[in-house]
């Protein structure tokens, strides 16, 4: 029997790590992720896990240790945020290209500078092209559920890629919520035992990881990574289906909330989706056909499925918790990608971008309501006044 506990998102993830019982965890503390590895280190100290816990001197070393351990044949996990992820960046690419199915809890925080410890998505957007699978989570529950599924997704023989599981720092990372915690045995059974195909520690079959790879083969290895990303989508759906059958929570590539008959909708990731759902409910009570599409899978980007799910709308408003400086209209990365996805799949509807919540700026229901009112106005007039709005920034 599962049980309900009052847990922070960090504690929910740490508890998931305890249940998964990875062979190796290498991590360095950084706010707002610290509570995850700190809690997990207590599990190590108390003998609740068999994990080799490697305390390193930096995130660059943390990810390096993870790559080494994964190549050795271990099931490996880590956690980080913002500047820690930035320091890992070189090895983040190496983890993906060496096909190490490491699972990382990424508690999203704004990148410096000026220095800030509060949530936005500038950190994860920095690794969007790195070859990691990226899952986003609205709540601590989802971060926990995604973490458990991430192990299966990354280790799948057709995939073999690292997976980052994101949630917003503080808002869900430190926020206490009601989390359904599954039975240890059920989680262990669901993730199974990792059977690495090419472990370095198989001494009878010596092999090399990470050799020099020039113009003659590097390109072929990149092509293989594309294939793994292509393979990931059906695997993610298959793992989600099995997860639903066992734990009773339904996950897809994204969540469509009151979207089927909607006329206007927002597209949003992580915790703000929760706030936006209450706004959708309020507008529905007024008779407004509002809906929401919540990003779950950011990499690989389910462009075709999302374009289909949004094709019937009059207007789409994307909410971006980061800016791609110097990109078209200085918009956010989510908007740019969604705009491309809609165009590529022949969906010709007005799309606007609302950058919000940078550096942890609160985003309140009335601000999201304004986004919907704008969208309704565009639906009525057919005219987009501003393609990109920096929501609630002071003039």
């Amino acid at each position: 029997m599962s049980k309900f506990e009052a847990l922070t998102g960090n504690a929910a993830v740490a508890n998931g790590m305890r249940q998964i019982n990875p062979d190796v965890v290498a991590a360095y503390p950084i706010t707002p992720q610290t509570a995850t590895v700190q809690t997990f280190s207590e599990y190590v100290n108390d003998g609740l896990v068999d994990t080799e816990f490697v305390t390193v001197e930096s995130e660059h070393s943390a990810m390096s240790a993870c790559v080494g351990a994964s190549a050795a044949g271990a099931r490996v996990m880590t956690a980080t945020s913002a500047n820690g992820l930035a320091l890992m960046w070189e090895i983040v690419y190496i983890a993906a290209s060496s096909r190490c199915p490491i699972v990382m809890s990424l508690v999203n925080r704004a990148l410096s500078g000026p220095i800030n410890i509060h949530p936005d998505h500038s950190d994860v957007m920095g690794i969007r092209d790195s070859g990691w699978i990226i899952l986003m989570s609205e709540s601590g529950q989802e971060a926990y559920d995604n973490l458990i599924q991430a192990v299966r997704i990354g280790e799948h023989a057709d995939v073999l890629l690292p997976v980052a599981v994101c949630q917003d720092g503080f808002i869900t990372g430190h926020g206490l919520e009601r989390v359904e915690v599954y039975e240890d045995d059920d989680v262990k059974d669901f993730v199974g035992t990792y059977e690495p195909q090419w472990p370095l520690l198989d001494l009878q079959n010596p092999k090399t990881y990470g050799p020099l790879d020039f113009y003659d083969y590097y390109y072929e290895h990149k092509r293989q990574q594309v294939e793994a990303m292509e393979n990931a989508k059906p695997v993610i759906l298959e793992v989600a289906k099995e997860f639903n059958e066992r734990f009773g929570r339904d996950y897809g590539l994204f969540e469509a909330y009151r979207l089927d008959d909607a006329e206007v909708a927002v597209v949003v990731a992580n915790s703000t989706a929760g706030t936006a759902k209450t706004v959708v409910d309020g507008l529905r009570d007024e008779g407004v056909k509002a809906g929401l599409l919540k990003i779950r899978l950011f990499r690989p980007f389910p462009s075709e499925e999302m374009a289909r799910a949004l094709s019937h709308l009059d207007v789409v408003a994307v909410m971006d918790r980061s800016i791609s400086f110097g990109a078209m209209d200085n918009a956010g990365p989510l908007y740019l990608e969604l705009l491309a996805a809609l165009a590529a799949h022949g969906v010709r509807i007005p799309v606007m971008d609302y950058v919000y919540g940078l550096g942890g700026r609160d985003t309140l229901p009335h601000e999201i309501e304004r986004v919907f009112r704008d969208a309704l106005n565009v639906a009525e007039t057919g005219q987009i006044e501003r393609k990109v709005t920096y929501l609630s920034v002071r003039e």
Binding site: S97, S98, R99, C100, L160, W198, N205, P206, K207, T208, Y209, G210, P211, D213, D216, Y217, Y218, E220, H221, R223, Q224, E227, A228
Partner: protein, 121 residues
């Protein structure tokens, strides 16, 4: 260069699953300098064989002789010439600095371009 394979035919992630297959990777075309024998007679001390980082000194084990260079793998680093004790004993004039392609040496390092022009002298 061995035959190039497609992305479906090779191990993922650049992994090398077959131990010792570096021999299939021909690195001789990286070379800017080529080791060749000069006039001084080799004493078969095997210092070059011992120090070569690319296992490119060919020896006749039965007759205990150094017989040449594996030019498919030699990168032309010149360590063989640098450690050669015969090279060190070549008689030279006062204050003379021997060039590394001096014909009097045992192992000479010849510029590939020059070698192509004149052949093995």
């Amino acid at each position: 260069m061995s035959e190039l394979k497609g992305w479906k035919e090779i191990p993922i992630g650049g992994m090398i699953l077959e131990a010792g297959n570096a021999v299939e990777y021909k690195t001789g075309d990286w070379r800017a300098f080529r080791p060749v024998f000069g006039e001084a007679e080799c004493i078969n001390c095997f210092q070059c064989w011992l120090n070569c980082p690319d296992s490119s000194i060919l020896v006749d084990a039965e007759n205990e002789e150094m017989v040449g260079f594996d030019l498919e793998h030699c990168k032309g680093c010149g360590i063989c010439a640098a450690v050669c004790p015969v090279n060190a004993r070549v008689i030279k004039k006062a204050d003379e600095e021997l060039k590394k392609d001096d014909p009097r040496l045992c192992i000479r390092m010849l510029e590939e371009g020059k070698f192509q022009e004149v052949g093995n002298e």
